[in-house]
């Protein structure tokens, strides 16, 4: 059964600073799945993600998100975006960051407290609510970023390298959270340069030099390339073996 596409890109190119950061990419992300956007750094992941959330200038081709052109005002309530590295205020407490995220998302005031409490538990920061975000560890900060995007319960979550620098236990917990969200009908597009996270995704898009090298399930990819893991499959596909 072919599911609806939450995100669909048709022949998308982005020229950034004089070079083609994204070069003729077509892909689809099925609703209710966790899709990994994998590739080495500089492969165009962040640019592609910026095009999906509608903050990238000079996008050629068609980017459709939840049935609308990317960046449409109506999507701002339905798409959550976790930017690479930051996106939250280090000089606010975790709770204050989440409260502001709730306000920015346009949540009615009476719903803010409940949403903040729920999100703190979701990202496992219930105990650190009143800590200054800048004093948290890198992993905890990433979870505050994630919480800020998660809080308004968007239909699509777009995450740019959310697991960078996290310890393995935390990474596993986050991926479990991603799958719980997908099971509840949400869609997640997650970029990573860590190939060993590939097996945690329902579907994979391998990117290199701004082009799609392959799009398949992890198992399908291994089968097609006759390899044991996605890293080897990647090497096989780019002809490096």
């Amino acid at each position: 059964m072919v599911k609806d596409a939450a995100v669909e890109l048709v022949d998308v190119s982005v020229v950034r600073g004089g070079y083609r950061a994204v070069d003729g990419v077509s892909l689809r992300v099925a609703t209710g799945t966790v899709v990994g956007l994998l590739g080495p750094s500089g492969s165009g992941k962040s640019t592609l993600i910026r095009a999906v959330v509608g903050v990238q200038q000079h996008v050629r081709g068609r980017v459709t998100v939840l049935g609308r052109p990317a960046g449409s005002p109506a999507l701002r309530r339905r798409v959550g975006y976790v930017t690479q590295g930051a996106g939250i205020y280090p000089d606010l407490t975790v709770r204050q960051n989440l409260q502001y995220a709730a306000a920015a998302a346009g949540l009615p005031r009476r719903d803010v407290r409940g949403a903040v409490d729920r999100t703190r538990v979701d990202v496992d920061l219930a105990e650190r609510a009143d800590s200054l975000t800048g004093r948290l560890s890198g992993g905890q900060r990433s979870r505050v970023c994630l919480g800020a995007a998660l809080l308004p319960q968007p239909d699509l979550l777009v995450l740019d390298e959310p697991t960078v620098g996290l310890d393995p236990v935390l990474r596993r917990d986050l991926w479990q959270l991603f799958h719980r969200l997908a099971a509840s009908g949400r869609t997640l597009l997650v970029s990573s340069h860590v190939m060993d996270e590939a097996d945690r995704c329902d579907d994979l898009v391998l990117l290199r030099d701004g082009r799609v090298v392959a799009q398949d399930t992890p198992a399908g990819l291994r089968r097609a390339t006759g390899t044991d893991d996605v890293e080897a499959a990647f090497l096989h596909l780019v002809g490096a073996v």
């Binding site: 950034r16 600073g17 959330v53 509608g54 903050v55 990238q56 200038q57 000079h58 960046g71 005002p73 701002r76 309530r77 798409v79 975006y81 976790v82 930017t83 690479q84 590295g85 930051a86 996106g87 939250i88 205020y89 000089d91 606010l92 204050q96 409260q99 502001y100 995220a101 306000a103 920015a104 998302a105 346009g106 200054l132 800020a148 995007a149």
Partner: protein, 238 residues
């Protein structure tokens, strides 16, 4: 707008040193000025304009650096993907820093009074104008941050943006005595009108209409800078 103002004020509260500097520095400078010119009547002439100038400069700097940080840290990019409107963001910043500016103006004006500044007009008018001028500094700082890509540049904007206005605002030499060309130029600069407003209060017991004109001009510059600042927030960036 309210949510953004609360957020900015909460950030400021976690940085007591900045609050201290913003509130204390202009007052100290005013007091120092009074001391430097003790025994002369110079302080009576320049004291009131200083109440306009110091808060203007401090708020310009604080605001341009804070908003530059927002532009660069990725928080702005994320915010622009949310339903938050750009004018709510800019308005929230102006509101929060305006409040901070008001505290600063109250303290600086009180100190000026304590160190013997004599003004002919009412103190409440001086206070009100000082707040207005701080908000002008905030609005221009918001706008200036759009043209800086590093903090080093933002700091350089201060001498580039503020010092020429200081030279031409009538403090060093009355504006009507400036050479042709500079005189016209000075009336295009917001700080000139700010100093005009303060000078009216300093020399006229009955301010009334003479104050209204420069105040309206300063207000106009403030609104224009805020509108221009919100136009510089682009949802899509290269």
């Amino acid at each position: 707008m309210g949510a953004t103002a609360v957020r900015v004020l909460r950030q400021v509260r976690h940085d007591p040193r900045t609050v201290g500097l913003v509130v204390v520095v202009p007052s100290v400078l005013v007091a120092l000025m009074a001391w430097v010119y003790s025994g002369t009547d110079v302080f009576d002439r320049v004291g009131a304009p200083m109440l306009a100038l110091f808060p203007f400069t401090v708020m310009f700097l604080v605001t341009s650096l804070t908003t530059l940080r927002e532009r660069q840290s990725g928080t702005l990019e994320r915010l622009l993907t949310t339903p938050l409107r750009r004018h709510e963001l800019i308005g929230g910043y102006a509101l929060a820093f305006g409040l901070l500016a008001a505290v600063q103006a109250v303290v600086a004006t009180t100190v000026a009074q304590l160190v013997g500044l004599d003004v002919a007009g009412p103190w409440w008018a001086l206070l009100g104008v000082a707040v207005l001028i701080s908000v002008l500094g905030t609005a221009l700082g918001l706008l200036a941050s759009a043209f800086a890509t590093t903090e080093l540049q933002a700091v350089q904007f201060m001498p580039a943006f503020v010092l020429p206005q200081l030279l031409l605002c009538g403090l060093l030499r009355p504006r009507e005595d400036l050479p042709a060309g500079l005189r016209e130029l000075s009336s295009l600069l917001p700080l000139s009108h700010a100093v005009d407003a303060v000078t009216v209060i300093a020399v006229q017991p009955d301010v009334g209409r003479d104050l209204l004109e420069p105040v309206l001009v300063v207000l106009g510059f403030t609104v224009a800078a805020l509108v221009a600042g919100s136009l510089t927030l682009r949802r899509r960036t290269p």
